[in-house]
């Protein structure tokens, strides 16, 4: 990466390089960010900088579900209004946020912290399946259903199958989020695999 630009002061080049470390940010975007910040006053930059340096200061992982938390338990696990009988298993906290935004789920979560992917050297032991199993066992029947909400990709499906097999013997119902046409989608332009799934998973109107 040739990011060093002799025509720019070092502090600018340095911040451009930092921004370029972010996912999906190339040189042009990083430059745009930095030149935007250069137009702002010092307090703006300091606030941003402090938010960065103190990011993980008070953060740990929830001891129940492994979502980010400020104390021992995350806000969701601490909330008595959440249904403790149903757990939604997701790859990471970003997936949790998306599901939360849909307002369609009032149970609790389990963050796997990754997906099984032999190519990247991530085996089943590297993600929190054991912890999920332990949680169900400890609940002594309180947890009635586990929804597996990994992505409908090759790795996501394989991980779902692996989880399903790991939990098979436990007295818990295991479900998988539906695969079908996205709302607003178009039958004509939907790929055949999705169409096949949408037909299989059809329901009564």
């Amino acid at each position: 990466m040739d990011t060093f630009d002799p025509s720019l002061p070092k502090s600018i080049t340095r911040l451009i390089e930092e921004f370029m470390k972010l996912p999906g940010v190339g040189r042009k975007t990083a430059q745009r960010f930095v030149f935007f910040l250069l137009k702002k006053d010092l307090s703006f930059q300091e606030e941003f900088g402090n938010a960065l340096t103190t990011l993980t200061k008070d953060i740990r992982l929830c001891r129940e579900c492994f979502h980010f938390a400020e104390g021992d338990l995350c806000e969701i696990c601490r909330n008595p209004k959440r249904d403790e009988h149903i757990i939604c298993t997701v790859e990471d906290s970003l997936d949790l946020l998306s599901i939360e935004k849909s307002n369609a789920f009032r149970g609790k979560y389990h963050i796997l912290g990754g997906i099984i992917s032999p190519i990247d050297g991530i085996g089943p032991d590297k993600i929190r399946i054991k912890e999920l199993k332990g949680r169900i066992e400890r609940s002594k029947g309180k947890i009635e259903e586990v929804i597996i909400a990994t992505n409908p990709t090759l790795e996501g499906e394989a991980t779902a199958t692996y989880i399903w097999r790991s939990l098979e013997k436990l007295p818990v119902k295991i479900t998988r989020i539906a695969r079908g046409l996205p709302v607003g989608g178009d039958v004509e332009f939907t790929d055949e695999v999705t169409l096949a799934r949408a037909l299989e998973n059809r329901s009564n109107i």
Copy 2:
């Protein structure tokens, strides 16, 4: 902007909000950035944060061309190898960087710091035309040519015309960057205004 997410620790929400202030960054992108940073170690976050807080610490504007500089003069104005007889006038430092990357210009620059845009309340006095004029006068004939490299947009062309009129009486050649087909472009799909310009500005092979 509803960025407050009760399921997330405050320090995470806060940094997401900071990232959302950057141009072109929405909630999803900001979340992706922050969750990426959460996976990195503390020193990574601190380095990034420090680069932000110290961004403008030693930075000022070059007293000649108004590009960012660490001392009185920017790296380009300080470089004795740059041709001081020709000045390229651009809207901002980002345009300077793009031209530098082309390696097609070895003269010096002049940063206008904006573009004339009556709708946004930016008159000719708000950009550095007076300073450009002063620079040419002070050079006592050393500056032989001024290339006006504002964008080929309505405002850019109007600004170019205004600059041209302001400098008309000075003993300096005034040129404008060519407008034509971008390299790799396609005659069939080029708009008529660009085509007309490309024909007007045609040159011998």
